[in-house]
Every structure is written in C-alpha cells, then in structure tokens.
Symmetry: C2
Subunit: 464 residues, 2 copies
C-alpha cells in the first residue's frame, strides 16, 4: 500500500469523526452580518485555529477592523521543493432567516437521508464550513498516517465573506510580505458539475455596478399643464436604457466588446459536451425561452459573455392608483457583468458616454458606481492546474470539467492584485445545496470525495 | 342710464360689500379631503344656500354619499324666452398645508397690496369660492337694481371637486330629470389669458391613465447566476416604453392619431397672435428647451396635441448601494392626454397592443386602467358662446381669447354625458394665483371685472 493509499484509507475510516468535527463547527452561529453574533465569529475563528494548531501549524487569530482572520503556516516536509499553497476559506455564514422555513434548527446540524445518500443539513453545511473542513480533514489524514503535512502551506480563513470581505484586502495589504510568499492559491467555495463529475472553475465574470439619475425640471409638474412640452425624465430614461441592447441582444456601448475574447473552438466543444439542459435551467425559474445574446448557448452566455442588466429603476408616482405627475428625476441601477480582458473603468466610461450622447436637451445625468472588478480567467496550462485536474480525475475516474461562473468572487481578484497569486477554484458543492437559503445541505458523498480529492491534490502538488 | 349700466354701477359701488361676503365664505375651512372638516363643508354649503335663497332662489342643500351639493333654481322673469343656464361651481377647497409657508392664516382672508393693486389672500380665494362668488354677486346686483334675476337659472355648487367629484356624477344621474332641463352650462373655474385679456376655454384634453406590469421569472434571480440568459423585465419594459415616441416626439401607437383633428389655420393664427413666451414658461420650471412633438408650438402641444407620459416606474432594487438582482417584474404608470375625437377605450387598447406586440418570449404583461375620459371641444359658433364673447369684449374692450387647457375638468364630461349640456368655461383666475399652494390669491381687479362680466353675460344670454 502506497502512502497515498494509506492516507485515503484513513480518511475513509475517519469519515464519521470528520463529520462530527464539522458538526462542532456548524453549531457555532458565526453570522457575520449580525453584530450580536460577533462573539460567535471569534469562537469559530478560535475553533479553526485550534484544529490547525493541533496539526502542527503555527496558527493564530488575527484582528481586523471587523471579524478576525485565521492565519496558519506550515513549512511542509524537510527539503520540500513543491509549491507553497495558500488555502482560502471562510468561517462566517449567512443569517438563517426565514427560520420558519427550516425543517430543523439551522445551527443544530442533522445527518439525514436524501436521494443521494446521507446529507448534512445546517447553515454553513457547505458554504463554506463544509468545504473548508474538507481541506483540514485531508491535512489531518496526512498528519495521521502520511508522515505529516505534505506541502508548504498557508491557510487564510476569513470571517467576512458573506458581508463583502471589506476588511480582507486591507489585511492582505498589511500582511503582504507574509502572505505573498505563496506560489498559488487554492479555494474550495465553488461547485462540482454534478454529483459524479468534478469541476475546476477557471472563468469568473467581473462587474461594474452603476447608478444613473436623469434630471429635468426643477420640480414635479402637473402632466396636464406641462405634458407635451416639458421633458419627462422617465420617458427619457426608458428611451436611453431601452437602447442598451440591440435586436440580437448585443450591448450597444461603443467599444464594449473590444476586449472580449472570442470563445475558442476547444472551449465551446468542451462546454457543448456537458449536455447542459437549458430548458430545465429556465423551467426551474418559470421561463420558457432564453433571453440574451443571439448565437451563444446558455452556458456561453453565462460564463463567457458580458451582460447589461437593469437591477432597479424608479421615478415618479409609484403608489396605488393614479397621480398626474411629470417627475423631476428618474433613476436606475445598471450593472454590467464583464469577461476576460474588459476593463471596468473603461466600461463605466462607455456607459456614461452612452447615456450622455442620448440625453435630450434640458436633461442632465448624474452617475455613481458602487463596485467595479474585472473578470478573471485562470490559465488552464499551469503545472498546478494540471496537478489539480489529475487529482480529480484519479478520484472520480473521469476528467474534471473546466467551468465558468457567471458571478464574481471578489477574493480571487484581491489575491491576484495584492498577492500576485492565481487561484485554483476546486469546490464540491452542488447546484441544489440551497446555500444562503433555508435547509442548506451538503451531500456526505461530496464531503467524502472532497476530502479524498484534497488528499490526492496535496500529493500531486508536493510531487512538484 | 340703461338697466345694464345701472346694474354695473351698483356692482361697482358694492365691491367692498361683495368682497366682505366672499371673505365670510373664505373663513369657513371647507376642506373636502379631511374628514374632520366635514361639518365645515356643510356650513359652507348652507352659507351658499342662504345667499341664493336671499336672492329669491329655491335653494337647498342636498345630501350625497359625501359632502352635500347645493342646488338652487330660479325661473327668471315672467315670459323669459332665453336659455336656461346651469351654473356650476364648488365650495370645497384644497388643504392649506404646508401651513408654515403661508404669510397669513389660510382661513383668515387678507386684503393686501400687490403689483396689480389689491388682492385677496386665503385658501379658496380664487379656487373656487372667489369665482363662484362673482356669479352670485352678479345676481345680487341684478336683483337689487335690475328688476330681479334676469334669466332662468340653476346653480349647482358641489363640495367634492378637490377630491375628484366622485359623488357628483351619481348625483347628476339621480337628479337627471331636474337638472337636464337646462340648455347650457356655465363654469367659472378657469383662467384669463392675462390680467387684461379675458378668455373662454374651449378645448380640454382627455386622458387614459394606465398601469402595466411585465412579469418574467417566477422569483427574483441572482444577476451573476442568471444574467445573460434570464429575461430581465426591467430591460424589457424600458425597451418597450422607450419606443413610445419616435425621434420627432410622435407617439407610435398604431392608429393613435387617426381621430386627432389637425389644428385649423385660424386656430393656429389665433394662438400665435397671443405671443406666448415659451422660454419664460420653461424657464420657470428650470428647463431651457421644449420637449415633445416637433412641428408644433408650445401652446399647440399643450392644448391641441395628445401626449404619452410615464408618470411612474418601478422595479427591482431601489435602495442604497447595490444588489445584484434580476427582478421578477417591473411596472409603470403610463398616461395619455387625449384631444378632440380620440376615444379613450381605443387608445387603451392600442397601448395594450403596442406592449403585447413587443413582449419578448417568456414575458407576460398585465394592465390596469385608472381613468379614461375623452377630450372636450366646445363648439365656438353656438349663440351662447357668441354671447359670452360679446360680453367679455364689451367689458374688457378687446376680444376674448379662445384657449385650450392641457388638463381635464371631469365635471365638463359629466355635464355633457349625463345632462347633455355643453359647458361655457369662463374664468377669471391668473396663472400666478397659486391655487392648491400656499398664499393662494385672487386679484381684486379680476374679481371686480368677473362680477361685471357675469352681469353682462346674463344680459346677453337673456336677450336671447
């Protein structure tokens, strides 16, 4: 029996104990957005620290302006030549509300039977306590029977991911010398393709989230006395924003697509081979026909094409019945999901110009921007991603899928921009895990194979 | 001295007493929208009834489901051959709030000096207590020195004009036999062209006020996970409503203009001769350029052309900052001001078709309609309007202007549809009278000439 086999066998034999340790962590209601749970956040951080210290890590709970960050270092074996891996996770969770929709108390983890076998039900079961615990349990198995921690490692487990990680980037900057020693980041906070098929997420969309306000008259006007001669800013705003997309669903900001890379034939073929069921995807949300850009599949539109969505709009009278008013102003929140090399600042400027070029005489436009981050594309031919794909393929007996993600994971951008680290996004959640919703769950099979995958991945990475 | 001259001279000599009687009425806070003032509404109605009874009218305060209506009849002189005139007015007033912006208590009428001489300041000074009182004072002068009430008259003075007159039409229907005996209606609730130039309002716009809701997914969606493939109903709504007008400001509902009569050359010439100062009109509301339909003057757009205004719009996230949501639905309130022969039901159907024809796959639209009334155009060659114009021209020494009004006066529609009466709209307010606002005022000169004009008008109508 190889060392790897012994470590895997230990993990198999320890599954119940691993789950019980996860349940201990799940019992701590570390809800980051509710100030009354700040003490629980500290308790969760200390729990993580203690686990890592028990495995020989130099581990500490480090203060920030918000909830603390756990940082733990291990030098790996003597003479270690492989990459220094920084593992990122978070110990904080979303609030459980609405409580009444839970089938069991959200912070009393349950082991229940589901259609795919045992599952864990609790807030944080998968996001991200379950996923972070898998890595720690992989380390534990190595520590127990594999001769010790097999690689040079830093763990960074934060407590504010669910509230926007606003103190994380300052923390990275303040501790840059310490943290930028790593060679690559590993994050376990994403999904598999399905329960039998592992995945690495290599593309994340970025975003610019803006607000625009059109102003016209200096006060609300009576539509009878002024209608037909006074500029109506709601009409003007719909007229402008109604032109955001052309008849093919392409976004009409001049220059918007200049930095968007075409989808390669290889990429397209790989995604096509996944057999994504678009009608089931849409049917689940009550839609029958896809919207968006013509000429692309649903996965391509979600993972590799940018969007322009109006997330909110308001102006004039919005109460019951009628009021014959011409409003003085109208506003909208407009966000753009960005891909590959699109520059958020450029897109924001393009949007401002798009609106200003269409302003009717007498109107003015005011703009605000709430967030802007670029899309991320992880190189798919680094030695680390090859090691990752091999480890997953060994575990599952089939190739891992390279996925995109329509949303953004801001920490990936921070790790890249502050520490210069590429991120390997290897997660074991499923689409139906109900993260952020009542009855969040994690399949035991995913937890188990996640631990085994991390064991294999550490083996591959350590091999160089 | 003719009888007419004697009556006019009496009115001149009695001006202070006329004003004091108006002030008595103004001291009654007959605010129709505030239930605690219901008793004051009754008091105002009784005050009006008593004035008319004192002039020999058969006058009564008649109940409705809301505030009462005063109805008063007088047969006119023996052997009277002229038209039976129904005079409409209202004794209720708008609330005075915000009180702190008044320079004097709103229900303690003041006689103050203004740039055009004396003026009355109080809630209701012009709208409509001042205007209704002018007619009663004209009757009083005829009664005192003209040999009695000179025409067959019905007065209908309601108490719910400021809250939408919702009980008036039922009252007209219930009392149709009694009230439809009249030949023509006379309403004094509009404005002069300016302080030196009388006006008759002959065109009123109608309106259809609608609400449309676009629905897409069965719940709010995350814009990262669905953006680009899931229909965004706010994007769709702006895309549809953004097409309401073409580049020339013409409304694009098919068939919308089919029943809109062109403006006659005579009408256009008359309005052009008024020298309307469009830049002052717009400058007052902070605008520099007119909006709306190309090829028409501001007055033409306000008085004789239809509009499409979005009065309110809402959907998605409208709070502070950002939320990455794709809403499940989006709504707008859209109203159309109508002219001449446009049919409100047709226009509502045209709007529904306009939206439905542009619905993207997967979207549904729901509609509501809150009000619909046609535009009104009073014939300008009836004997009654000729008598009116002559009376005004005699009083002011210059022709009266035939004006339009961009808004609607619902009672005009009810008088026509229920009682079959055309309305003569002869008012003596000025644009700067601040009706519905703090420091509402009425120029004494307008009040005085209004009384004199009504005296002359009664003389003309009685003649035949």
């Amino acid at each position: 029996m190889t060392t790897l086999d012994a470590v895997l066998a230990h993990a198999d034999a320890s599954l119940d104990a691993s789950r019980e340790r996860l349940f201990d962590l799940l019992r701590i209601p570390s809800i980051s957005t509710q100030p009354e749970f700040a003490g629980e956040c500290v308790r969760a951080a200390e729990w993580v620290r203690d686990q890592l210290a028990g495995l020989g890590f130099q581990a500490s709970v480090r203060p920030t302006a918000g909830h603390p960050v756990v940082v733990a270092h291990h030098p790996g074996p003597a003479g270690y030549k492989g990459p220094h891996v920084l593992f990122y996770g978070h110990y904080d969770v979303q609030p459980p509300e609405p409580i009444e929709l839970w089938n069991s108390p959200p912070f009393e983890p349950q082991l229940v039977d589901g259609p795919r076998g045992k599952r864990f039900v609790a807030r944080g079961a998968v996001d991200d306590k379950g996923q972070a615990t898998m890595f720690i349990e992989a380390l534990r198995a190595w520590h127990a029977v594999g001769g010790g921690i097999p690689a040079k490692l830093t763990l960074l487990i934060e407590g504010e991911e669910e509230v926007g990680s606003k103190n994380l980037e300052p923390f990275l900057i303040a501790n840059k010398d310490e943290l930028s020693q790593a060679d690559v980041a590993l994050i376990s906070d994403t999904n598999m393709w399905n329960v039998d098929t592992p995945a690495v997420t290599t593309m994340l969309r970025g975003m610019v989230y803006t607000e625009v306000t059109l102003k016209a008259a200096n006060r609300d006007l009576h539509s009878g006395l002024y209608g037909g001669s006074a500029l109506n800013p709601i009409n003007a705003l719909t007229r402008i924003l109604g032109q955001l997309q052309d008849d093919d669903g392409r976004i009409r900001l001049p220059g918007f697509y200049d930095r968007v890379k075409p989808i390669s034939n290889a990429q397209r073929a790989q995604w096509d081979s996944l057999g994504f069921d678009e009608s089931a995807f849409l049917g689940d949300i009550g839609l029958t026909a896809p919207a968006g850009e013509r000429g692309y599949s649903a996965l391509e539109r979600l993972w590799a094409r940018p969007t322009a969505d109006i997330n909110g709009i308001w102006g004039g009278y919005t109460g019951e019945g009628s009021k014959t008013v011409i409003a003085a102003h109208a506003s909208a929140k407009v966000s753009f999901r960005l891909v590959s090399d699109q520059n958020p600042d450029e897109v924001y400027a393009q949007f401002q110009k798009f609106v200003n070029d269409r302003l009717p005489p007498g109107a003015t436009a005011e703009f605000a921007v709430f967030s802007r981050g670029p899309g991320i594309e992880v190189s798919t031919d680094s030695p680390w991603i090859r090691a990752t794909l091999d480890a997953l393929s060994d575990e599952f007996g089939k190739p891992a899928v390279l996925m995109g993600c329509g949303g953004s994971i801001p920490v990936v951008t921070s790790l890249r921009s502050v520490l210069g680290l590429e991120a390997l996004l290897v997660g074991f959640g499923l689409d139906d895990d109900q993260i952020h919703s009542p009855n969040e769950k994690f399949e035991q099979a995913c937890f188990h194979r996640g631990i085994r995958s991390h064991i294999r991945l550490l083996d591959k990475l350590a091999a160089g």
